[in-house]
């Protein structure tokens, strides 16, 4: 294996990690602040991708599509919070899982009803097309570098928002003691809606950015949702820092595992079998990692302070 391949795969892992972080950040915020398990988070990711594809197709501009994805996902998040999620905070997790699972089905069928079952076309904007040379001679797509940069920007923005602003202070306070901050006169209902819309917007942004790389289709959110849950469980539920590190860990381990495991098995077996067995083992790798981490640190790598 050459240095160029290793570097390229590392970047790929980073890019996957950053994308997972955008999903996991919203998921973990919502769980941390409101104690809610939101299975419909993947649907908001899908809403973002479809909004971006539809607006980009209508106007010809990916950037307008990106703005639309943020707006639509945030709006969808806020509406869902007001109509459904609000009634679930005091219920137990089973009710929340049931209700948000129903939301997945409604979002999926609603999207199918609006856009049909065939995947939509969404292309990368001209500005970010093509590839740049990496040290070592390999080429790397500009768009993936842009995703990494956007993810880093969002992570920094979240750090500022949570750590340095009044809203962030309230979010942190809501995490540690929600009754107390209600008693202190903070409008907890509005705060919850804002946090939910923020998480939804992040998921929508991830959906739109990834939609240009993959296919924009109904049901695209659920595989990502599963990975995002793995990320927040590894990182420690409720912790943004944990979500960031967990996401990068999952991204890099998954990408390198898919490259290295078949090669490792190939030392002992024929190429065809090695590809099959190595490929199957690679798809289990992150779950094995999760099991291992939970065995050693049952509350994840960076458990939120209050839990």
């Amino acid at each position: 294996m050459t240095l160029a391949l290793a570097l390229e795969q590392l970047l790929n892992g980073l890019q996957l990690g950053v994308m997972l972080f955008l999903m996991a950040a919203g998921l973990t915020l919502i769980f941390g602040v409101m104690g809610l398990i939101n299975l419909a988070h993947g649907s908001l990711y899908m809403v973002g991708a479809f909004a971006c594809a539809a607006v980009a197709a209508a106007t010809g501009s990916f950037w307008l599509g990106l703005v639309a994805s943020l707006a639509c996902a945030a709006a969808a998040g806020a509406i869902v919070e007001l109509l459904v999620i609000r009634r679930l905070y005091d219920r137990d997790h089973l009710d929340q899982v049931l209700a948000t699972f129903a939301l997945i089905l409604m979002f999926s069928e609603g999207t199918r009803w609006l856009f049909g079952s065939f995947p939509l076309y969404l292309d990368i904007p001209p500005l970010l097309q093509g590839a740049v040379a990496l040290p070592g001679g390999a080429q790397y797509p500009v768009y993936r570098l842009a995703i990494i940069a956007a993810g880093a920007l969002v992570a920094f923005g979240l750090y500022l928002l949570i750590g340095k602003t009044r809203l962030g202070m309230r979010i942190r306070a809501g995490e540690s003691d929600r009754e107390m901050i209600g008693a202190l006169g903070v409008d907890i209902r509005t705060l919850y809606t804002v946090v939910f819309a923020l998480g939804a917007a992040l998921a929508g942004l991830a959906g739109a950015m990834v939609g240009a790389l993959q296919s924009v289709q109904v049901g695209m959110g659920e595989p990502v949702l599963i990975l995002a849950f793995v990320v927040i469980v590894i990182g420690g539920i409720g912790s943004i820092k944990g979500a960031l590190l967990g996401a990068l860990l999952v991204g890099v381990v998954d990408t390198l595992g898919r490259l290295l495991l078949p090669k490792l098995v190939g030392v002992f077996l024929q190429p065809a079998q090695a590809g099959m067995i190595g490929g199957a083992a690679a798809s289990m790798l992150i779950y094995m990692m999760m099991a291992l981490i939970l065995a050693m640190k049952p509350r994840g790598l960076f458990p939120a302070a209050h839990a």
């Binding site: 160029a4 795969q9 076309y121 993959q214 296919s215 049901g219 490259l259 798809s283």
Partner: protein, 378 residues
């Protein structure tokens, strides 16, 4: 006069017999109508229903249910259709892993299974069954054609497919005919959406060309990412990766890609012209290979139902075997293992006006049979 009377009697008896055979036929269609693979299932359903509609036989009833591309769900639906709906024939499953969960048990219960797409090797050889028909192909076929085609220009190939029964059949089929060196053989996850790791391996492999079997959304994601990667090794694949249902979403990145198929929109025969026209008139879009296969499955069932009672298994099977249909593929007949013998072509993705579609370049195989028919003892 005597002659005339006997002719009239004969004609009368024939019309009576054809009336007698207008027995009710209940068909259970299980296919993927939700989730990422829905495009394939919807084309399957629509192609099938077009054939049933054209047959104009009011005794044929079709019940359709969505399997969500989940094997366990497909099994539940099949049980329900067999036990409570009492269907005579099952059809429609797109994915080989789902078919393996449903078809063997359905035929064991004495029901017909007519496959519109999935055709795993496991059911084509030793374990072939008199009640199991495949109207599409055997899984390996289109991949075999690409292997044969690759011999011409390429010495070293990078080959990849998803890790499920049809993926394994795919690469096995490709290697059966490809004589050059295989640089690397990669199995990806089913439903995988990010191919960065595989593209990096392609770049590092030093292969002359890439063979990728990635149906549905997987192919869309791969082709879009490949176009941005700066890798310029040519791509080829079986028709599934570049079928009408995904071309629009892949966009211009698919232009010029060579792929194999047993059908294309421009295949020159009367039945095809009529089919493409009727499909477009009915649904307002171009048909894919899944639609063609299901259309033929529908035609097969309708043709047998016109002549035999489905409850008379032997007679109905004999009628199915005759394959008395006008297939848009041109030639169509069944091999001893009840899989088609047909021509396979190499096609190229071209732009027809604003729409991306496939154009036939040249035949690769004529009257191609699958490799497993010889193991089938029926």
């Amino acid at each position: 006069m005597k002659k005339l009377v006997s002719a009239a009697t004969l004609a009368l008896s024939m019309s009576v017999s054809s009336l007698a055979f207008a027995e009710p036929v209940k068909i259970g269609m299980i296919t993927t109508l939700s989730g990422g693979g829905a495009g394939l299932g919807i084309d399957t359903r629509d192609g099938f229903m077009l054939a049933i509609k054209q047959a104009g036989n009011s005794e044929i009833e079709v019940i359709t249910e969505d399997d969500g591309q989940k094997p366990e769900l497909a099994v539940q639906i099949a049980d329900k259709m067999i036990q409570s709906d009492q269907v005579d024939i099952l059809t429609g499953i797109v994915w080989s892993n789902l078919l393996m969960a449903v078809a063997p048990s359905a035929v064991a219960q004495g029901k017909f299974y007519v496959s519109t797409n999935a055709a795993p090797a496991a059911l084509a050889g030793e374990n072939c069954n008199p009640l199991y028909f495949n109207a599409a192909y055997q899984n390996d076929n289109l991949h075999e054609a690409m292997g044969e085609y690759a011999n011409k220009d390429y010495k070293k190939m990078f080959i990849m497919a998803p890790n499920y029964p049809a993926g394994k059949d795919s690469l096995t089929g490709f290697k059966r005919f490809y004589k050059g060196e295989v640089a690397s053989e990669v199995y990806t996850q089913v439903g995988q959406t990010d191919y960065a790791a595989e593209i990096a391996q392609i770049r590092a492999s030093g292969a002359d060309a890439v063979f990728a079997f990635l149906p549905g959304g997987m192919g869309i994601a791969f082709m879009k990412q490949y176009a941005q990667s700066g890798v310029d090794i040519p791509i080829m694949g079986p028709g599934f990766s570049f079928s009408q249902d995904v071309l629009g979403a892949i966009g211009d990145a698919a232009l010029g890609v060579k792929n194999s198929g047993h059908w294309a929109k421009d295949l020159d025969n009367e039945a095809n012209k009529k089919f493409v026209e009727a499909f477009q008139a009915e649904y307002g879009r171009l048909p894919s290979i899944y639609a063609v296969q299901a259309y033929d499955a529908g035609q097969l069932i309708a043709s047998a139902a016109a002549k035999a009672d489905v409850k008379d298994t032997e007679a109905f099977r004999a009628e199915l075997l005759k394959a008395d249909i006008q297939s848009p593929r041109g030639k169509f007949k069944f091999n001893t293992n009840q899989h088609p013998i047909q021509d396979i072509y190499v096609r190229e993705v071209v732009k027809d006006g604003d729409v991306l579609t496939n154009k036939i370049l040249a035949p690769v195989f004529t009257d191609h049979e699958d490799a497993y028919a010889k193991d089938c003892k029926m």
